[in-house]
Amino acid sequence: MDAVRFVRVAVILPLVLITGCAATGAMLSVPGQGGIPTRVDLEQTPFYPQVEYQCGPAALATALGASGLPVVPADLVPEVYLPGRQGSLQPELLASARRRDRLPYVLPPTSDSIISQLAAGVPVLVMQKLGAGPWPGWHYAVVVGYDVESQVFLLRSGTERRQEMPAARFLATWDRADRWAIVVLRPGQMPGDPDANRYVEAAAALETVGRIDAATVAYQAAATQWPRDSLPRLALGNTALIRGDLAAAESDYRQAIELDRGNVAAHNNLAEVLLRRGCVSAARSETEIATGLARTGPLAAAVADTAARVAAAGNSDEQGCPAP
């Protein structure tokens, strides 16, 4: 009798763990302030049922579709699917969204941040760990809603168009995947409860992979959203410089400095623009300020580099240069 009971426990317990039924007891609640509804269902979100191991392409297609870009998962397979892993890796999902001029924004690892997105009408692409041990069951799904009263999250997942997952179970599976969650935004569109640094960093990633126009639109939105933050202005100056528009770049850098006199990068980059204009004296005074601000910080080497270039440029100023 005891032996039978032991076998049952020995067999069922691991199975319960594998299927992720071991709930942590986490509750779904909405932040008190900000008028967040207690129930959201983004019914309009498209659905692409998963084929074989390809939940990555399916979930990404769902998120892209919700951002106004209809794509079928089959088109995404060559970009994000890794045959040797029978799955997709997180950075490649971000990269694939960028290739289509979409801004992937990684959320802070809190359930509140998922709720904020849904309340703002933006579905959330999440990673879940549905298994354990030798079968981790890494899975991508798209959260399209929640209901505080019945304690469920609504997902587009696998082959289910509308999966109602108990909140405690969803939060546990998400927690075991290190709470990875992203939203896929149109350039210029803001996530729910946006964070300036996170947003500008996401836009800067677009810029570094050559999607300059999309990045510029995002920086403009950031400059409007956070008018007193110098970072979006610096970013706009950098994209102006990439386009070769020295006058616009100079104006943006000056605005960034006006917002934050301690912005090392803005002083440094302004010096670079002035140098290209042939205004060596004005450039020198900017590098002097930047050098004093950078001290031995992470940007010190870049500033020293600019200072050396200014020093090598001699002393002649072109006509029409600003006073140093």
Binding site: G56, L94, W138, L299
Partner: protein, 124 residues
């Protein structure tokens, strides 16, 4: 002696000639400027170029069409390339949820048939 001096002088001249070209990009990029807000640059991390070639090799090894590899790499940031380098075989790869559910169901079914568990008998 004179020959060696000439060679030395020429070398220095050539090096100096090269340096302005190398340091052409004196602009501090936005990503670089945002990075200094949070974390300090980790000197132990490998260079972006090395990370790139490592990711390229691993993608091919993991079955990506060689024609697609460059396209996929082009849309990744340096930080993401560093994350991927050396880890592509171990990082979580979302995809096999259906397989998991299938395996669990199959095991339950077998155990049910053998008589170790009786969860399905509760339902008519």
């Amino acid at each position: 002696m004179f020959k060696r001096l000439t060679v030395l002088v020429t070398c220095i001249a050539v090096l100096n000639l090269g340096s302005p070209l190398v340091t052409q990009a004196a602009v501090i990029g936005t990503l670089q400027a945002t990075a200094q807000n949070g974390r300090v640059a980790d000197l132990s991390t490998i260079s972006a170029a090395l990370a790139r070639s490592e990711v390229r090799e691993q993608m091919v090894a993991l079955g990506v069409e060689p024609a697609q590899v460059e396209r996929r790499i082009a849309a990744l940031t340096d930080a993401e390339l560093r994350t991927l380098a050396g880890q592509m075989a171990d990082m979580p790869a979302g995809g096999d949820a259906l397989a998991i559910i299938g395996i669990v169901f199959l095991v339950l079914l077998i155990l049910e048939a053998v008589g170790v568990i009786d969860i399905f008998k509760k339902f008519p």
